[in-house]
């Protein structure tokens, strides 16, 4: 047991003595930057040279807009130097460096300037469509760059040109923080603006911006129909006049116009159309009974039309109801239209069957050759007294006491 403590003691002494020894051995390391040049042109080889005494276990940490890198030195007796790699040295901007050693922290900066000759023009434009009226604008950003993709030095002149209708304009802007920009405002006409730029004799490609019309203004509507009889078959077409914005531009194709139709009972119908060359067209089937429509169209929240009133004359004046022997087959018609012609197939005849004041069934039959037929199934409608109501073309005929066996 005692022996163990002895070992530990000896070991501790040994360890302590070596640490002390290490401490006493230390000599102060010194490093000094020899390179005096602090400004380079992009693409130039950059070498940072240092003189040193002491430890050579050093690294150079470099960082610029492109990224960071840690370099090893090339050592040559009392000096060493670092070669900055191409990937870093070809980027313009500030290159920060820092010498990493055990003790000393030496740091500095190198400025890398872009080349003076232009290689490309980088340009961005957006948004690609703007509204007329002079408040909406699109922005062109132009970055003249050298062959290493560095933006040219600030205050490089950029000529931004644009063409709209019969005008062509050019304006000079100067780069700042590496780029130049210009806001191009819309005029009062819709159309397309073509835009390009030039710098140091180099021209960009063509850009275009669509100037779209502003919101529509109030408009007028009209209706077209084959005849003014309520035959429930022909179609009435509603049309707007050419809808324009407040600068007299025709609104964009596809502008959605909703037509609201109110009939004399106060029920609403709704049809819609989208504009082509400013004119929206909408269709609606004519009523099957005498009616009056008042029609108004809207582009919601923006514009509306006048109200027009359309009258529809009764086409079917009256119809006959014929019961079969067992009263279960009922023939409606012949249904005759305004020239006493049979109504076109498909006039809707509705039958409402009620018993003791409760509606049992409602069925709709379409006319064929002017005639509509109902058949009351004895299983559905067993023995009893029923009230039958036939409605066609707005005319209702009621049979209050129809007895079935």
């Amino acid at each position: 047991m005692k022996l163990k403590y002895l070992y530990i003691a000896i070991l501790s002494i040994f360890l302590l003595s070596t640490t002390v020894a290490l401490q006493t051995n230390e000599v102060a390391d010194t490093y000094k930057l020899l390179s005096k040049k602090s400004s380079y042109t992009a693409g130039d080889a950059i070498k940072l040279q240092f003189s040193f005494t002491g430890n050579t276990d050093v690294h150079l940490y470099c960082s610029n807009s492109y990224g960071s890198v840690v370099l090893n030195p090339d050592i040559n007796s009392s000096k060493f130097h670092f070669s900055i790699p191409q990937s870093i040295s070809k980027k313009s901007g500030i290159l920060n460096w820092q010498l990493i050693s055990d003790k000393t922290e030496l740091k500095g900066q190198v400025t890398i300037k872009s080349k003076t000759s232009i290689e490309t023009i980088e340009s961005y434009l957006g948004p690609p469509s703007i509204e007329v009226g002079g408040t909406d604008f699109t922005m062109l950003v132009v970055i003249p760059t050298d062959d290493l993709d560095n933006p040219l030095i600030d205050s490089t002149k950029v000529d931004i040109k644009h063409q709209f209708l019969f005008n062509q304009e050019a304006s000079d802007v100067y780069t700042k923080h590496g780029f130049s920009y210009k806001n191009i405002y819309s005029k009062t006409k819709s159309g397309r603006i073509l835009i390009s730029s030039e710098s140091l004799g180099l021209n960009s490609k063509e850009y275009d911006v669509n100037v779209v019309p502003a919101i529509p203004t109030n408009f007028k509507i009209s209706a077209e129909r084959i005849h003014d009889y309520a035959d429930g078959n022909q179609i009435t077409t509603f049309k707007t006049n050419i809808i324009k914005d407040r600068y007299e531009n025709i609104v964009s194709d596809g502008t959605f116009v909703t037509f609201f139709i109110t009939n004399k009972d106060g029920y609403k119908s709704k049809t819609s159309g989208s504009t082509i060359n400013g004119i929206a067209t909408a269709k609606l089937l004519q009523p099957d009974h005498e009616d009056q429509w008042s029609v108004k169209a809207y582009v919601e929240g923006m514009a509306n039309s006048n109200t027009i009133v359309l009258d529809y004359k009764q086409a079917v004046e009256d119809f006959e109801v014929t019961f079969s022997k067992d009263k279960r087959t009922i023939t409606i018609g012949p249904l005759k239209s305004f020239m006493n012609q049979r109504v076109p197939d498909g006039l809707r005849v509705q039958l409402t069957i009620s018993k003791n004041g409760i509606i049992e069934d409602q069925s709709i039959e379409n006319s064929l050759n002017g005639i509509a037929k109902f058949h009351l199934n004895p299983d559905r409608f067993p023995k009893g007294i029923y009230k039958l109501e036939f409605t066609a073309a707005g005319i209702t005929k009621t049979y209050t006491k129809v007895a079935y066996e």
Binding site: P128, P213, T255, T271, A282, G346
Partner: protein, 1029 residues
Amino acid sequence: MKNTSNKYLITALLIGIAFHGTSIFFTLETTYDALIHLFFADHYAMSWFEPWNYKWYTGFTVMSYPPLVHQSIAALSLIGGLKFGMFTVALIGVVLFITGIYRFALLMTSNRIVAGYAAILAVFSSSFVETLHIFGQLPSIIGISVLMHALPEIYLWLKTGKKSYLATSLSLIAVTVTSHHVTPIFGMIFFIFPLIGMVIMDASRDSIGSIKAVTFKVFLNTFFKLFKRIISFGMLSLVIIIGCILPYWINSKNNPITQVPIPHGSRDNFLEITSSGLVFFLIPWGILLIVLPYIFYRYYSKRYLFFGLSLTILFVLGTGGTTPIPRLVLGETAFNILTLDRFTLWASIMSLPLFGEFVYRFVEGDLKTLIQAKFGAVYHRIAGGVLAGLFLFMTIFAMSLSYFKPSQPQQIKMLPIVNFLNQDQHDQWRYMTLGFGDQMAWLSAQTNAMSVDGNYHSARRLPELTTRPIERLENSKFKGVEGIGSLQQFLTTPEKYNFKYIFSNDKFYDPILYYCGWQRLRQLENGIMVWEKLNVPPLSSILPKEDVSTWQKILWGIVPFLTVLVAFILNIQLPLVRSLKTKSKITPAYLNFKNNYNQFSRGVLKLTHIWSIILALIICYGAYLFYIKNESHHSPENAIIAYYDALDFKAFEKAHSLINPKSDLPIAQYMLEISVTDGLLSSYAKLDAITTEIISQTDNLASLKVYTDWITPLEKIKKTDYKTVVKIAGKWYIEPEDIDLDLPPDQLYSSNTTNYFNQGRRRITTEQTHHEDVLKQPVLEILSAKLVKFENHYAIVGEVQNIDNVPSDVVLKGTLYNDDNKFLATYNAKYHLKHKLMPKEVSSFRINFEGIAWSKTQDSIPKTFNPDEFTPIEFEEQPTKFNLQAAGNVSGSDLFKSTTANITTIDDSYISGTLFNGGTEEVTIPQLLVSYYDENKTLVWVDHLFVKEGIRQQRLQSFKYPLLTNESIRIINNDMTNCFVNGLPNENIADKIVSDRILNHNNEELQTIDHPIFKFVKLEINTYIGNPN
């Protein structure tokens, strides 16, 4: 004994390979499971040691299934492709199965000829044919086959105590467990326990000389004598079972299966659902049913007693829900997780040795002698012919089942889809397939793109999936309403899953895609329609995964093949070397227990006869019932049901054959009438239930009330029809219905519309779209938005307008917060929005906040569910604020707006009117959006109605909309400060374009209604065009 090769076994192998080897090329790819295993194999082929797979279910781990079979296919795929690997493994499975049956039969009967017979019968065994060619369960087949190879080794270890047998048996158990985890666990219970019993019997017999003298006491004594061997084997195999696929067990423990059980046909009552009875009982048992008395008689003899018990349990468990016993025995949970067909498979496999014995005795043994003596040689031949005929019939029937009743859609050419996904960075988004069946796994194996869906339901992770009893979204229509309900949640909020493309092979889903805001992109050359959703961000380049430690990955990657290698060395190589060296052959111990095939029991023969007659009677009665139920002209009900079935399956010729032949309706006219009807009900509905009620019936005439439930992709429809049925020449027919007589006014007419085309990338390049080709997002304006509480759920309602000059696709996303700005829920607008808006068009909208349906308890799943219903999210706290994000994207599709709505009458409960189609497209499904306003003309609620019938051009369609009743409704918040359009504040963007908006512009155009709460309504129409011109 001279050891010659068994010619029966050789024959069985040759026939087996020829028979199965040729037919797998026609069957395996259309089975349920094979392609799933192929997908797993593809995973291992790509990354052997990395268990995480991103392609399905937003990522899952392949450690959820034992890897051996998949890894074997993967290894073989390096030689000749994935399918080569799959077919090769299937062939290996066939060989292993036949030899396995041979060895098992030899062990049981100690007779090489009998074992040879069993091997030949195994080739054609209907349960094996079904498992391989219909189900495609490769791992299960390999597992059970290897287990059968293990049985003789286990016997020998227990009997002789030689350590080498312990090693061989354990090595085979290891292979079994790495190919299929369930097989060794249940194999322990149903095969190895009875085997242990048999060994004890044999050992007892050895000790006292005669099987008859074995008493329970002797048995118990022997058991204690062998106890050490039994327990050592048991413990070691447990270690093997756990150790070899340890990562699997760890994964199962970490991700326990908490899913709602998926219904499986094997749990049905086979008497009620006869199709399940056929597939899961009749086919696997096949001809074995006839010899059941013999099999039970033999297995209940003293030596096999424990096999008899095991077989009985297997038989009963295999009957599924027919009797309550399986549910009682297994318990509710196990009953709902396990597929019970495997018990029948094992029972039939267990019966094969004795079936071989029966056939041997019948063909050349004592049974032949007995029958010939009793009934004569001719009877023997006829009986043999009948048995052989039935046996082959069952085999052929099982083999061609998928021909008669295809379980999969037609084979789809995947190349166009794979190409589509590879083009244009389409694989940067997730996709989904619809109506592909199990072929989706094959697509997944071929592409790098990821799917939201998947085909291995145990690995599902998203709660949207695990809370539903659906295997995959892909075939959700077959899962009825739960399926569609789940699908629509994915369709409504696809951004959540970076889910942009859908490949649809089934037009059934088209309406739901449209109404959830998806648009058709184009049809690929294989006929698959591609749908896309706008405004979905691409997948991030780093996706989350659940990593496991490296030792697990290494274990998982190495152990399965290692087990095969060890098993190969121990079972084949060593004995081979030994036999080459020594030339002497030891007879295995089990060959000493020969059976006596001299005296076939007369009682059993009699019993078999009686049993056969009973079986024949049952089958005849079943066939009669089947005929009565399915003969369409037999009764009025049959005629109606057959007619609706025919309509449901679009078998119009069949439907026409049920129409009164005297009604003067030629098939041409009938087909024409069918072809012009379109709509939700006639084109997209699936008949869910039908009941008929006879109102009156005479000898020749009957009136029926037919109640039908239809499942459509959008909602469930209940319909009541009145049908008249007449009897002509003893057959019942249906009277045809009237057709629409309406004649449109114009023969030919024109219509002008504005069409749009987006070039996309103007330059053909694989680079990212150049900035100048990116269109500006159309500017929308949220005109109004408010948070309302309707009954007991919350919704955001309002109106949105496209104030730009180009048509826009609209995505609305609402988020709810409480007073402390705590996030509560987020959801997108689904049906209550016109997703495509023309310039300046307005749409009302409503955002429902759907919870993950039925996430709370399993029993709250409604028996009948309407796809249109949803489970409102459960809020822990009161939502008081909302955030609404509207996103517009230029879209030129689905801009048909030529439908008009006319109100004709309004009463207390209905708005009736007509819809008129004035355009040139046929409207397939019209939808009415009904906005309700209060007395101040403030929008308070938005409702919808899908009109069941379509509208042809220039024709009318009537509608009847039921007004809401007196529901309680309360506006909670109408502060619109948190409304944003394309990420910018709504107010600023609106001011810029429509600075002097006319407020409440068309207020006077609202329809007045007489209602206690709501005073005005507004109708809007949204139309789905099924077949754009």
